[in-house]
Every structure is written in C-alpha cells, then in structure tokens.
Symmetry: C2
Subunit: 347 residues, 2 copies
Amino acid sequence: MAKTDVLIIGAGPVGLFAAFYTGMRDLSMRIVDPLPEPGGQLTALYPEKYIYDVAGFPKIRAKELVKNQVDQLAPFHPIYNLNERAEKLEKLADGSFSLITDKGNKYEAAAVIIAGGVGAFEPRKVVAPGIAEFEGKGVQYAVKNLEMYRGKRVLVMGGGDSAVDWVLMLKDVGAKVTLIHRRDSFRAHAATTNQMIAAHDAGEIEILTPYELRRLEGDSKLERAVVFNNATQEDKILEIDEVLSMVGYLSKLGPIAEWGLELEGSRIKVSPVMETNISGIYSCGDICAYHGKLKLIATGYGEAAIAANHAAVIANPSLKFEPGHSSEAKDAPGTKPAVAPVVGADD
Amino acid sequence: MAKTDVLIIGAGPVGLFAAFYTGMRDLSMRIVDPLPEPGGQLTALYPEKYIYDVAGFPKIRAKELVKNQVDQLAPFHPIYNLNERAEKLEKLADGSFSLITDKGNKYEAAAVIIAGGVGAFEPRKVVAPGIAEFEGKGVQYAVKNLEMYRGKRVLVMGGGDSAVDWVLMLKDVGAKVTLIHRRDSFRAHAATTNQMIAAHDAGEIEILTPYELRRLEGDSKLERAVVFNNATQEDKILEIDEVLSMVGYLSKLGPIAEWGLELEGSRIKVSPVMETNISGIYSCGDICAYHGKLKLIATGYGEAAIAANHAAVIANPSLKFEPGHSSEAKDAPGTKPAVAPVVGADD
C-alpha cells in the first residue's frame, strides 16, 4: 500500500518517536530514510556511546535507545523504507501529499512529518592517496563495533571530541593506538584531552602533532600510513591495520531545500505547533528552527509528540488534538487507543 | 545552604528532569514538593501502572520511571525539600528570588522553575459516616502497593478508568472484589469496561449499580460497608476489609495563584522558551499553558530541558544557552559538563 495516513521523513530517534505517537493515534505511518538502519546519527555515528540526557535513563548506549524505540513502535506496524532518500514532495489538489524517492517510488500520505536530523550528513573526508581505496576495508568514519579493533594497530585522525573520546576507548582494546592531528591544540573537552595526554605520558598511546596523512599503503589490505609533520614536512611511517578518520561531518539539507519550505539557514522554520509554512507538513528535531530551539534528544521527542498529534488531526479530522494518557490504557499500545485523562476522571 | 542557583517547584517527572538539566549545566538546585516522595502523580496516584508513551521505554511502571529519574539526577546532588509546600514567592531587588514555604523556611535562588503538574491535587472524597474515621486504616484513595490487598475483601467506589482498571487488577489478588458506582453506565474505556463486565459474568467480581455508600462500620478496624441502591433506596451490607475510593481528583493551583503570574484558567502562561510573565521564573509540564500545549510526559520533558537551559543562563550569565550533547561526555554526568556538539566537530 503506497498510501499511509502519515509519512515520516527520517528514522532517527525523533522520527521514530513521531511515528510512535502517530501509532498511538491509531493512524498508519511510513518512515523513509536514506540510511540502511533506523536510528539516524545514533546508529550511524556513535552506536556504542552512552547517552546521559534522555529522561529516565541514567545512561544508555545509543544503539540500545534506538532498539528500544524500534520495539516501542513495532506494535503499530510501521512501514520502513530504508536506503531510500526523499527527493521530491508535492502537495496534491486534495490537500494530501505525494513523495517521490531516489528509487523512483511514489508514496502518498495525508500529512508529512520531516524529522530529518541534520539533513543528509556525511563524514568530512581527508584527501590523500589510498583513502578511497581502503574505505570500508581499513578506513572507517565511525566506530560501529568496538570489538573489531581488538588487537589491531589503529590510527585515529582528528582533534575534536570524537577523536579524543575514541582514542581513550580504543587504548584498552587495540594493540597500538596512534593519534595524528594537524594542529598542536585540541578542540575536545579539557578533561578528556588531559586524560589522553596522561595516557600518552604513561606510554599507552602515541600522539603526533602537528601531523597530517600523506598516503595509505598496502597490498590486498591496509598495511601502512605515511604521515608528515606539517611544520617540518618530515615523513614518518606507521605500521597500521585500521584508520579511524574523525575530522568532522558535513551536513546539508539536500533535496528538502527544494520543497518550498520556509528555511532559516539550513533548518526548516516551524510554528509553535511544529507546522511548516506548508499546511499539513510538520517538522521536528534538529532539522527544525524556532525561537528558543534547543538541539537535544529530549526536546526533539517533545516536538515529535506535538507534530504527530497535530498531523493526526490533519490525517483524521474526527480525532481530538489531545491524545490522553497512555497509563490509562489497560492494554499495551496497539491494542487500544488511550483517550481519557487521569486527573479529573470522576465517578 | 539556603541559596541555590535554581529552585524547582514540583518533584514530579518533569520537575526531576528540569533539575537534571540544571545539573547538566553545572548549577545547583533545590526541589520543593508538598508530597512525601519524588514522582508527583506517578508516585501518588499510579505507581504500579505501566506507562507506554515515554520515548525509549516500550513500557515502564510509573514508580520505576521515577526511580530511574531520581538515579539520573543523583550525581548532581539535588537538595530535596519534600513534605513542604511553596507558599510565597518574591522577586528581590537584585533580581533573585525568595521562597517561603509552609514550614516557614526561606529559600533563595537566581532562577525559578515551576513544574507543578496539576497543582496541589487531592482525591475527591465521598461524604459518608466512617470515611474520615477509617482513612488510611481501611480507606485508601490510591493503590500504592497492590500486595496489601492480597486475600482481602475490597470495595472499590467509582466508575471511571481508575476504578475499572483497579478492579481488573485486584480481582486476581483480593479474596473478593466489589465495585459500586452511582450510575448504571461507566466512563471508563469501552474495552476495559467490557473486560470488567465479563469478569462479573464469570462470577469473579461483584458489580453493584446504581449504588452509593451510606456508611462504613467497624470496631478497631473496618468491617462493613452499608451501601444503598439510589434508585430503590434499599440498603445492602457488604463485609469488607478495605475500601478503595476512586471517584476522581480535585486539583487547584493553591498559593501559586497569588504570585503575580499571568494565568490561563488554572495554568501558568509561558513564552515559547517557557518563561512566565515574570523574568527569571519559568514553568513546564502540565501546569504551563501555551498555544498547542499537549499534556504529555514527553512534551513535559522537552519543556523542562528548555526551561532549565534558559534558567541556567539567568543563574550564570557566562553560560551559553545551547548545552551540547551528553554523548560527547566521556564520563558520566556530574563529573564533567558537556559542551560541544557532535556534528560539526572538526579536527
């Protein structure tokens, strides 16, 4: 079925929660995302990292939060269209919407929620011979599985939080960990930078600054990195198995910029109820902009709930905006809609 | 120490999360609540019930969510002033605030967040002889511990969701469960009402309508309820051990209404950044009002994060509004503030 009540663009944590609340209103939903798995940045960039600022979790690994959200959404039978990028969104004469994807598929919906995070994002790539050749076969842009580095000689490139944090985690796993950074100073938190320097002083890791990558070498697999001191131009050869390139990310709105939405920089302007300038299209999470907007998962969840409950009324005008409280539901979600508030219930 | 950076009024889930985000900004906080335990309605009204609509939890018991939040907040060493009601809030000449409580204590803070839920709430009480006498010794207004009803003969009064839901949970625990309701129809969800009627038809519970309570009787402990059919006025005697009165709740703003805050009905009007009409006083959760406001835990959490991050800048003007992402913190909260965003971090 190519038509659902609500179409959600973005399968990150905020998109998943928008889908969940769409389901709580007993509406059908499709989720489109160019990444191969749900979870957005959490899955693609830092699945193994702990998140500390989601309410109710003193700490939780990013990938576990995503799994929980996928499980929470499952009773509503979401249609996932992963590995598929939203290309063109049009409003039809009857007020509903039609989306064309990069696969040429056409999906229709009564309302749309854009929860696109930072938009299409990709790692910034160092330009040097060998990088492209060993991509995915020795060169990685994110740690998806810490264990794959066990016993390996790892070269980390970068000087921000990601690079420093991962050096500290890799030092207990890898056979040898070397960090190169093109400047002498680090942009990471002072506390973690100091921890890393202490690890260096204790001989646990190697830090080379101001160093850059000249080229990667190897036959069938990655064997060496040639790096150079960018002050002296002197080369140094490192025997390595893996490169972790953490020199930042580039993000862009991509095709969304062409849909006629009012933007603020590269973000989508929304009203206090998360509606864009096009009636029936809502936005939530890091991709939306409004006065006082905070880019946090917790605020994204709240925005998702607001967007979904408003989109629900568009998709089914007989619904009330206020959804009621889930704790009143005797049964789990998906078996019965929750409608009555706890307080004020009388005899 | 009577002065903290931020003073939070209300220890419900939203107040606890406002306190957590205050801590994430490395600021001190005090939480004042008239209830004896943190958790607000979740602890006082439905600790044993499942909540389904908090992001990341397919389901979680209300009391477990509260416990998790208390644990999440603990590293920031919150000062809890429980069993204490905020009575009078004044803005001082230097722009800070002074709160007087019903215990006569005076607490000062640079900024205030009112996360007062539905305000001061209390159960609506049936007026009948014996009710006051057996309150807390046979008459309860909420189930705090399902096990205390094991093997007991329980009279439930009410016809809304709370009454019906608890009858369904008590039938497997109590020796005998009787529901009286003053009308013939129920206001609870159709699905759960039907479950209850099926349990009645199977002889598992007793339902008496249209019945009301005439009086409770007993010597040292509750022994009998005299109820009457309000159509025929005929009395009926029930041998019981416990009464669970679930005929609704009354809520009111209480002293907060006198603080000069702009109200919308019995809620506090806030700007898009959760600020009230008095600069430095913020509000979030069910007690606040703005266009498009949804009374959900998920939206309350988002509002709490916004309120706390704005209050943080008031309390410490050298802080930036945007807090950065917790997943960048190598260590757990409380050990190091998180400041840098994930995306855009470069080398």
